[in-house]
Symmetry: C2
Subunit: 341 residues, 2 copies
């Protein structure tokens, strides 16, 4: 590997001059620049990024931490972040937290130990307190899908409560009155917000909350199946099920089908997230859109602005979910609606 020293020798100039043409800093006579460029070409010179970073104290790397690496959300996020970063000549250093508090913390340590210029964090397990305490111990960082008091400007979040509201509201509108809900882990903010939205919609329609119809899940497919079965076993006149994410919805869908319930004519099903395959299902899943890609791009904007001083970039912190009406939800069965008159 050629070094800057060899280039300078071949070009007959000093180290400093080579450095200048590399970084376009300072004035260099055109003829000199040309000589240097030629030498670089001849030697197939590649600057050593470590030496650069060590000397300049900046890495051009942005650390990205995702709570888990699989799942459709993750892929969309990374694609968006990577694309956007490249556009500004920065690079993504990616780490996975594997949905574990200790591992997430370790991944953060790793990213900061690699001297990232900034961090984009998508974490579930770490507490607000921990994150707040990291404010002055880490490079500038922004979070996706969290809303933390005291650092709202660093949070790119979805209005999960409103999404939960939309899902249930769309059902109420269509005459459903017995709506079961399969939630995510209630210790996670997004899960409890989604449930809160569900409750608000019910209240708004003058319905009592029926605690028997709310089940706490864990965002995983098999749990969706298990809890959907539990709901059916209740033998209550449930005509719709809202799931707090698409994963659990697909699990529920399978159970409904195997028990010979027709969706949506017997029972409606609504998911949340609008992951890619939700439209591949049969029936296509009605769900709430989670604009991951947009939010990811916004996180990059934040980083470009805060860590690299780029200007003119808009940063929006809260994104609005949107109901995606597809085939898995419809009007409540007529018999049921009659009974409610």
């Amino acid at each position: 590997m050629a070094t800057i020293y060899e280039v300078s020798k071949l070009a007959g100039v000093s180290l400093a001059t080579v450095s200048r043409v590399m970084n376009n800093s300072g004035k260099v006579r055109d003829a000199t620049r040309r000589k240097v460029l030629d030498a670089m070409e001849q030697l197939d010179y590649q600057p050593n990024s470590f030496a650069q970073s060590l000397a300049s104290n900046r890495s051009n790397c942005v650390g990205v931490l995702v709570s888990e690496m699989h799942g459709p959300i993750f892929g969309e996020m990374l694609t968006a972040i990577d694309t956007e970063l490249h556009r500004s000549g920065k690079f993504a250093l990616i780490a996975g937290g594997h949905n574990d508090e200790e591992k997430e913390a370790e991944a953060i340590r790793f990213l900061s130990s690699r001297n990232c210029d900034a961090l984009i964090l998508h974490v579930e397990a770490l507490s607000n307190e921990f994150l707040l305490s990291m404010l002055d111990r880490l490079p500038p960082f922004v979070m996706i899908n969290r809303e933390i008091e005291g650092m709202a400007d660093r949070c790119i979040s979805l209005d999960n409560e409103h999404g939960g509201y939309l899902a249930t509201h769309s059902l109420l509108e269509q005459g459903h009155t017995h709506i079961a809900y399969i939630s995510g882990p209630q210790e996670w903010a997004d899960a409890s917000a989604r449930l809160a939205g569900h409750n608000r919609a019910l209240t708004e329609f003058g319905l009592e909350l029926d605690e028997r119809l709310v089940f706490e899940g864990d965002y995983l497919v098999p749990t969706g199946s298990r809890l959907a079965a539990a709901i059916l076993d209740l033998e209550l006149p449930v005509t719709a099920i809202v799931c707090a994410n698409d994963e659990m919805a697909v699990g529920a869908m399978e159970v409904l089908r195997s028990r010979k319930h027709v969706i949506p004519s017997d029972i409606s099903l609504v998911g949340y997230d609008n992951v890619r395959w939700s439209s591949f299902l049969n029936p296509k899943l009605t769900t709430v859109n989670y604009p991951v890609a947009d939010m990811s791009r916004m996180a990059v904007n934040w980083v470009l602005k805060q860590a690299y001083g780029e200007e003119g970039l808009p940063v929006r912190n809260v994104f609005e979910p949107e109901l995606i009406r597809r085939e898995s939800s419809g009007p409540a069965p007529v018999a049921d609606r009659m009974a409610n008159l």
Copy 2:
């Protein structure tokens, strides 16, 4: 940020000693080690990875290049690689090639400019020649899903031909004789191998290859739909469609359904890759398993062995696909089988 120098001063030892306890290299008296550790703790010392890398000429980073960042394959790959690498204290530096020859090449340049100790490459667009020419210009690298003459030991590949064979064979076994095939881009090796397997199965069953039944696609959902429609429009007695990947299969499935064909009783459908959502479909998709996670782990083994000298790790180069029989394929319709007697 505390430096090694401050630690050494606080601990009352030399730089070298601090370095030794950090890296567990050389002998250090227990009492000394303790002093150093205490000092590190007190100062919240974090080694500067650039300085380490610059001095030691190794980064503990493995570059991972994927042809595209979205899609289920990618997520599974990264999860497996990241997990496995962490286990050995190495880290993944990830870049996306975005399915473009120039971008893939640039991403490689980026990864090598970041002084990765090794590279794991999953590329589609780059030519064999190019890759061969990089052998001595890059850190040690291994490829996933390629099989290149002259560097077979660096290729972790799937026997795509055999997979194509399995898919079609399973249909022939069940009495199908008019099987349409929607392939991937024939300039990609995996796509042409899969098609070759299809052809071999047909030949083995003594059937003529009917060119009207082979369509070249691009691995994308809408194309699956378009070509499935084209197949139906042929008005030939097709009783089964094999798609070269699950994406196109789901596109095809939708068209079949919208045209009121029942799967599998009217027509069978087989995919390829066994992506996660293939089992979410209705009917569940029969497909060929592509063991991405296993292959990814194997790539990491290669890296650990070749770049870090770890021992005792097995490396297998060629993986076998496996037919996953689910609901979307079944016996040929009776009428059709009668006609063939």
